[in-house]
Symmetry: C2
Subunit: 203 residues, 2 copies
């Protein structure tokens, strides 16, 4: 049975008001000026802007409008699960079974707030991002890995200092994902990041 227009708006705003809570999820990364931890809401905005401005770094077949939509919703599950920093637990926590199970449950709840024609396609878009296999998802993942690098470089090391990250760990956890979705970007980012690690992590 079709929803009434009123029930539909109630469901749309139940989701939009719930999404507001992403602004209170704090990340390990700080703002570029180092003044405070970044939250996952403003992080999602910044990444969508990355996609808009760095579109020419995407490979063939990438639909930037889809990438932007993907990035707008990619972290919503953190409302229930919190941000799991890439470099925490020696790089292992991020893709643990515990984390992915909890995130799937969060996706059920949060996308489930939406009307039935909107929730499932947005949930599928989030799953596509997580799988990181499609050209759109690979590019989105690459941007999600580049942005903290820029913040760390500007703020004196950031999470690299916090978690004692080596350049080899950066290559494995971050570089590989950037190179897969935006090879030209990784070449440039590498040239920026390497000197920080060679300097013996001065900050």
């Amino acid at each position: 049975m079709a929803q009434s227009a009123n029930d539909r708006l109630e469901a749309q705003f139940a989701f939009l008001n719930e999404a507001d809570r992403l602004k209170s999820v704090l990340r390990a990364t700080t703002l570029v000026d180092g003044s405070r931890p970044e939250n996952s809401g403003e992080h999602s905005w910044h990444l969508a802007l990355y996609a808009l401005v760095l579109a020419d770094q995407a490979g063939p077949g990438v639909d930037i409008n889809r990438v932007i939509r993907m990035l707008l919703i990619h972290d919503l599950v953190e409302i229930d699960v919190g941000d799991v920093p890439i470099h925490s637990a020696n790089g292992l926590a991020h893709a643990s079974v515990e984390t992915t199970t909890a995130e799937a449950k969060a996706a059920d709840r949060i996308f489930g707030l939406l009307p039935p024609d909107l929730g499932p396609p947005l949930r599928a878009l989030w799953e596509e991002f997580e799988a990181a296999e499609s050209p759109d998802a690979r590019f989105a993942k690459a941007l999600d890995r580049v942005q903290p690098v820029m913040a760390n470089l500007r703020s004196g090391g950031g999470t690299w200092a916090t978690y004692n990250v080596t350049y080899e760990q950066l290559e494995a956890r971050v570089g590989s994902k950037i190179a897969r979705g935006a090879p030209g970007l990784w070449e440039w980012v590498q040239g920026k990041a390497k000197p920080w690690f060679l300097k013996g992590k001065e900050s």
Copy 2:
């Protein structure tokens, strides 16, 4: 003369790093839970999500992907000018000559950081938003006016209480803009907002 690939990336990241400062521009509106003022970076994310989820409220001829791009960049000038609350200075500060002149100067500087093929089109998109004449801009403006209403309703009145706003002022400053870009939405929002004003602004 064409920029080198390296100079181009330097310009793209000069813009993206500068954009980070929007996360430090505070608005008069709070988060939905009332815990702290909202910043303009996370506000821009939330509005892009509004466009994605409320697309069926847009009139004919509205391109939601363009609306999303518009909303991602609509507040960047606030990095230099700050947020001018809609209800401040008895509703007059928002569109004053001083504000619009300062915002145009900020747009020159901020969009001017980008490579020459990217800056001018994004600046034009911002101008289109400000003019609020095209169908895309009218819808974007409508969402920009709806979102603080939802935060005020959830947080016990918010900026309505701060600035002693009457229902007539809400209709003039907010309702007219929402009705122009998303009439069905204003009908629903009205039903939500009116009771707060009728209750004599209890909070």
